[in-house]
């Protein structure tokens, strides 16, 4: 992705919309690594991520005319990637159908902040990445959309096909799953009261 703070190549985008092959190459070189990493985080294997990256750019070429230039290109690109990755997971039936669950079902509890602090302090990025791979499709997808590509709750709700009010629940549950995967079960992962 364009690194945070980096300007988006508006000229290349405009030229690519007219079918300029060089501009396409420029966009691809600029964004392919970020999209590959996004797919790598969201999908189970490296091969899946490679295929998905190719597919996203194929779709991009068809959809570029629909892109609203007044909005962030990066955000729009991530939206395309997120939709594609979720479609891939959905086709494989790895998606967890929890759409019917309600916000009220979330445990409104207060975990032990010190335990959580300790857990975060002890874990490395590598361990977090490995733990992410163990999560369910929806949980991983939600975390990637929120904390990798900084997508809004509305965009996440739209991509996952859930109500906006449910996004927080999905994210919180995902964090619980992640903590469990990081090796800390029990009250902390389940959001148990202090």
């Amino acid at each position: 992705m364009s690194a945070p703070g980096k300007t988006e190549p508006a000229g290349a985008i405009a030229r690519a919309r007219t079918g300029d092959a060089d501009a396409w190459g420029e966009l691809y070189r600029e964004y392919a690594p970020a999209i590959f990493r996004f797919c790598r985080r969201a999908l189970p294997t490296r091969e899946d991520a490679e295929d998905a990256t190719m597919d996203v750019f194929m779709k991009l070429k068809d959809k570029l005319v629909q892109y609203d230039q007044s909005r962030s290109f990066t955000a729009w690109l991530y939206k395309v990637a997120a939709n594609h990755c979720w479609d891939v997971l959905r086709r494989r039936k790895t998606r967890q159908d929890k759409e019917t669950e309600d916000v009220e079902n979330v445990p409104l509890e207060h975990p032990d902040p010190n335990q959580l602090d300790k857990l975060i302090e002890q874990r490395t990025s590598e361990e977090v990445r490995r733990a992410l791979e163990k999560l369910g499709a929806r949980a991983r997808m939600a975390l990637v959309m929120r904390y990798y590509s900084d997508m809004s709750y509305d965009e996440i709700a739209d991509a996952l096909g859930v109500r906006r009010a449910f996004v927080g629940v999905v994210l919180l549950r995902a964090r619980h799953e992640l903590r469990q995967a990081l090796g800390q079960g029990g009250a902390l992962a389940a959001g148990g009261a202090s």
Binding site: P111, N114, L178
Partner: protein
């Protein structure tokens, strides 16, 4: 002192739940609620700590995800859109060629054969359906079972599975379809399935005995002296039919002599067959030597694959023959179509139809022979096949047919096919198992055929084995494609790789001298991979609460805890 005050205040406060804290740090609360949370955290140390922990967790997540621990894969280094577009052309071409291939196959081979067989009195069925499907295994279906109809049924079944898969699981869908077929089978008239079996050193139907229904006879010496009002299935070393069979004869024997009357057809695999009696309908047979003696009468046609045929008797209709040497001294009521080495027509022979003979030597026709027309002779040409253009055209058509076959199989069994391609990378195991299955399965199937119960199983196994020989090449093609284009777990990309790989595999099998051996090796390899996948599928999976394996745990690396690495 301050900490103590915080602690006392905390005890008195109702803590914020984690959901509210998360929404607060994510800036998802409305202004009033956010102010409420803010005010609470001024007072409550525990909630303040939780907010901080959640924020740190968010940062840890972002950092972990943004780190570039993997370089962009080489295949993504350049946008491969053009390659993808060209694949669409390959698909179009493959489908076009496949359609052409099917049409050419039908018009070039199937249709002429069908016509020939129809002329020879086999009424609309083709050879394969005659051999396998008609009567012998599905009694009561003879009027409907042709190969085409079987293919139609299989296709229908495939569509049904595909349709049901969207609604129920794959296993359930297959079960429903199979149950449907079984139900259809069960609806056949029960009487049609009635049969009797006799086994022994020397078995048969006695002279004064009458069997109402079909009979299966197994023995070293088998004799049918009585009357059978049904079909006769004969399996033996020395087989004699001197009685009266009102149905058909199916024989697997070393020596078969038919001295009696058969109202139906004879279909046989023998070493030596001699007919002295009367066969009202047709004879279809695979043998070493066949003698139709002067007393023999066959009312229908004779279709025969044999080393040597002596025809002294009377054949009512056409003769279709693949042989080394055919000597004709009797009468043929129809025409003759022969492919072989030598045709000898003696002076007392009579042929009422045309004679088409394709062979190595010109036909020897005695002066007194009564022929409706001169022998139409074509010398067999033995030009190297590599020199002929149509050989390459057919190779292209075959490659396309392979791609379509693979497309269907990989679509029907995506997971199995993916696993098989993966298992092909276990080279030693695949090849070893392939050798075992290649030679072992046909032997086992033939053994199964010896028993009545195993006949259907044996023949079916042989068919599955034969189909697996083609599937094996597709699996290897899939692997070769993955070598070139990278690994994948998606079905369509895997099919794409298979298509590319199978073209290369087919090309490698065209290399003069060694191509055949390459093909053989590839078949063994792929067959082993398929077998390995099947073997893995049938292995019981270990339950989550199963007791641990009786092996000592591997030592943990230093500075490791059960929960992960200790911080330095």
């Amino acid at each position: 002192m301050k900490e103590k005050d915080d602690s006392l205040r905390d005890d008195a406060l109702q803590h914020l739940d984690e959901m509210t804290c998360l929404l607060y740090i994510e800036r998802q609360l409305d202004r009033a609620k956010a102010q409420e949370v803010s005010a609470h955290t001024q007072e409550c140390g525990a909630c303040r700590t939780l907010l901080r922990a959640l924020e740190r967790e968010s940062r840890l997540l972002t950092r972990a995800m943004l780190e570039e621990e993997e370089a962009l894969p080489a295949r993504l280094a350049q946008f491969q859109e053009r390659a993808r577009e060209s694949m669409q052309w390959i698909w179009t071409l493959a489908f076009g060629l496949a359609a052409t291939g099917v049409y050419a196959l039908y018009t070039g081979y199937i249709e002429p054969w069908q016509r020939q067989l129809e002329q020879a009195g086999f009424g609309g069925s083709n050879l394969l359906s005659l051999l396998i499907f008609q009567g012998a295994f599905w009694k009561g279906w003879p009027s409907m079972i042709t190969l085409l109809e079987v293919l139609a049924l299989v296709t229908l079944g495939g569509f049904a599975v595909a349709f049901l898969r969207k609604r129920v699981g794959r296993g359930s869908a297959l079960a429903i379809v199979l149950a449907g077929f079984c139900a259809a089978l069960a609806l056949q008239p029960a009487s049609a399935l009635a049969s009797e079996t006799r086994k022994g050193e020397s078995v048969g139907v006695a002279h004064d005995e009458t069997i109402n229904g079909d009979i299966f006879l197994f023995g070293d010496r088998v004799r049918v002296d009585g009357t059978v009002d049904g079909d006769v299935f004969l399996f033996g070393n020395d087989v004699n039919v001197d009685g009266h069979v009102k149905g058909d004869i199916f024989a697997f024997a070393k020596f078969l002599q038919v001295n009696g009357n058969v109202d139906g057809n004879i279909r046989a695999f023998t070493n030596t067959m001699t007919i002295r009696g009367t066969v009202a309908k047709n004879v279809l047979t695979f043998d070493d030597v066949v003698n139709l003696e002067s007393a023999a009468k066959v009312g229908g046609s004779l279709t025969i694959f044999v080393q040597k045929l002596n025809l002294e008797g009377n054949l009512g209709r056409d003769l279709l023959i693949f042989t080394k040497h055919f000597t004709l001294s009797g009468k043929v009521g129809g025409g003759i179509r022969m492919k072989g080495d030598l045709l000898t027509i003696n002076s007392n022979a009579q042929v009422d139809g045309p004679i088409h003979y394709e062979g190595n030597k010109e036909a020897e026709v005695a002066a007194g022979a009564k022929l409706a027309s001169p022998v139409d002779y074509h010398k067999l040409e033995h030009k190297p096949k590599y020199m002929e253009a149509h050989y390459y055209v057919w190779q292209v058509i075959w490659a396309a047919a392979f791609v379509v076959f693979g497309l269907v199989l990989f679509q029907l069994m995506p997971s199995f096919s993916g696993e098989a391609v993966g298992n092909a990378e276990r080279y030693g195991a695949s090849f070893g198992l392939g050798v075992l299955v290649f030679f072992g399965v046909p032997i086992a199937a033939c053994i199964a055929c010896v028993t009545v119960v195993g006949l259907f199983v044996g023949i079916s196994t042989l068919f599955v084995w034969y189909a697996a020989l083609y599937y094996a090449q597709l699996v290897v093609g899939g692997l070769v494609g993955q070598w070139l284009m990278g690994r994948t777990r998606e079905t369509w990309p895997l099919i794409g790789r298979m298509a590319v790989g199978i073209v290369i595999v087919r090309l490698s099998t065209l290399i003069p001298e060694v191509g055949g051996w390459i093909k053989f090796g590839l078949i063994l390899w792929g067959l082993g991979a398929i077998s390995l996948t099947l073997y893995n599928r049938f292995q019981p999976s270990i339950a989550a609460n199963a007791p641990p394996a009786p092996y000592p745990p591997s030592p943990l690396p230093p500075n490791t805890t059960v929960g992960g690495m200790q911080p330095a």
